[in-house]
Symmetry: none
Subunit: 205 residues, 4 copies
């Protein structure tokens, strides 16, 4: 993910790929140990056995580095078919919750989101590196439920997109809020109650 114009012929010594990996790994370790606010790039560099210059050659700053370091965690997210819409929702909720429970994610995610409120390029980076990785699960889950006949097929593609976004904000928002703001665990019991609410609504049975 580090920068560099994609297709340049390049001269001189090539950049070390090992350094990249070491830096991202060191960043996650430092996040776990120190948390976002006490993480320093000098410390990351020395953990990675790398000079600060090497680090700055690849990332613009702490925010960008941390987004990249944390983004890989979101690659693990999958949506195995559990047979029903309710089970799929519960599954994704628990999976996301498990990810949010990892200390490097917990401390970093809200911090970079906070920074992104005043930094458009960072927001974009977060969107492509993290948010989209989550959102595809929603889309996948919906089409699967439609295939099962649990949800109606939407005709209007724009309306379909709006609804997917809404559901995504509701699911991800609820899990994040429960975990970080309310600081309560997202366990199976909560996931079940949340799923029932989401499917049936307040007025539900």
């Amino acid at each position: 993910m580090p920068s560099r114009t994609p297709s340049a012929p390049r001269a001189g010594r090539p950049r070390s790929a090992a350094a990249d990996a070491a830096i991202l790994e060191a960043t996650r370790a430092a996040l776990v140990e120190l948390g976002w606010s006490k993480l320093t790039l000098g410390d990351v560099a020395s953990r990675a056995g790398v000079a600060k210059t090497t680090l700055y050659r690849r990332w613009a700053g702490k925010n960008e580095l941390v987004v990249d370091a944390v983004a890989v965690l979101f690659d693990e997210l999958e949506l195995p078919d559990r047979g029903s819409l309710a089970a799929d929702i519960e599954g994704v909720v628990l999976q996301f919750a498990a990810l949010l429970d990892r200390p490097e994610a917990k401390t970093a995610l809200m911090a970079v989101v906070a920074e992104s409120t005043r930094d458009e390029p960072l927001r974009e980076r977060i969107r492509t590196s993290i948010v989209e990785r989550q959102k595809r699960l929603v889309l996948e889950g919906r089409s699967r439920a439609q295939a099962r006949g649990e949800l109606p097929l939407e005709q209007d593609p724009a309306a379909a997109a709006r609804t997917a976004d809404l559901i995504f904000d509701v699911v991800a928002g609820a899990v994040v809020h429960r975990t970080l703001v309310s600081a309560e665990p997202v366990d199976e019991e909560w996931a079940t109650r949340f799923t029932r609410l989401l499917i049936g609504g307040l007025a539900g049975d």
Copy 2:
């Protein structure tokens, strides 16, 4: 909100209440202008016409100060009776969204929540200063809906509390996520769609 045992006789010159107010006001102004990460306590102090020591005598650091500075914004939240559950939910969503749109809140809220993942006293402070102020709206809205007959009376008070917490996480989480992560506006149209989803569920009508 600054510390100090509430009712001690106290010797010596008393602390200036004017200083407290000036500091909190200056903090909000600095948040708007600079955002969370570039806000410095030295700058806040000089904006407030106050010495840094005065500031540190009252607050332990940036996090605590910002929580107090932002907390007052949440006092404005109210839940006027709009006649129906759906209207009440829409109202609270829009109200909360309007608050989150204020730059001092937007930049500060997620940042202090991020910090609080590694700082239990801070989490507590956030809970009492901010979260509880929001949660009472949920409770109020529910009892009003129950009085209207829109929602059934819960027998078990523990279950009632759990449900209220769940709804709170869903509502607040969705609004926050839409605003800060998806970075899309929470307008009337979104509020309507969200409300319909919350009341009727995915499977709704």
Copy 3:
């Protein structure tokens, strides 16, 4: 020694004499413990069981306070008649050296002298409180030596004063320099050699 226009009628509560004494005593104790540069007026005040205001009402600052605190040590200096000029010189040298060996004097004297290079009132205060107390010993020693016939009577009083000043600078300067700059002890052996040099000169037998 603290200030206050000498003969005012005065109204209100009179100043506590005990406080004065406690402050000076606390100052000496703090000098011994902390040395000049780490001595703070706040610390002196709390050692003396006195408020800072009380201290500032009497002394303008650290320099003035320390001069007064140390000055009393110089009251002890005397010149008992030891029977000869040489013995008297040795006596005064050893006495002055003993005083300079006290930690409160050692750490304070050069410091206030250093400050006085840029503070005329302080220099005057040092002169009257400390220097004159030493100089009278030179005058007394000389007149005694003249009475014994060891030194000739000077006719010109101006020349006599100049010579006394010269001798004072030589004696006091040598002892101070030996003690503080060379950091070597002024013992009897050194005092003897110094005295022989002073009386007989470099060319002396």
Copy 4:
């Protein structure tokens, strides 16, 4: 004079020699303008166009810095052969007095000596940087006088060293005391009278 083991191979960017010189020069300028007690390292750094960290990387604090800044002044001291012991003494006295008259020396010397009473490493630094530079003049003057036959050759080298130390304390002490404590000028007239006293003694002709 700043620290750092003299001959190490060293990796990384070397320290700037220009910064060293600029800092020492700025220190002398600040001493002249502000005096010892109002000199701040932050001010020195900004006068030198240097960051505070650069300064602290080289010197442990104000004392060490000032000793180094002032030490170079003592390199100027020389003892041209003026043909006789008396003339040589007068020469060195006047030279030393001229140096002490420079405001950067006057304000700084006593201050660091005062500090050195509680700081052995500082005392050592003063000794090697300043005191030894002066003492060699005494040794040179003596051997010259012995060559002229004005002073006897000492047989015992230990006794010779003791005598040289004594003379050094007397000469330097007298000049310092006259200048800083008595705050009177060391002019030719005083130098002449001092020299006559030193050579001939009190009992002298």
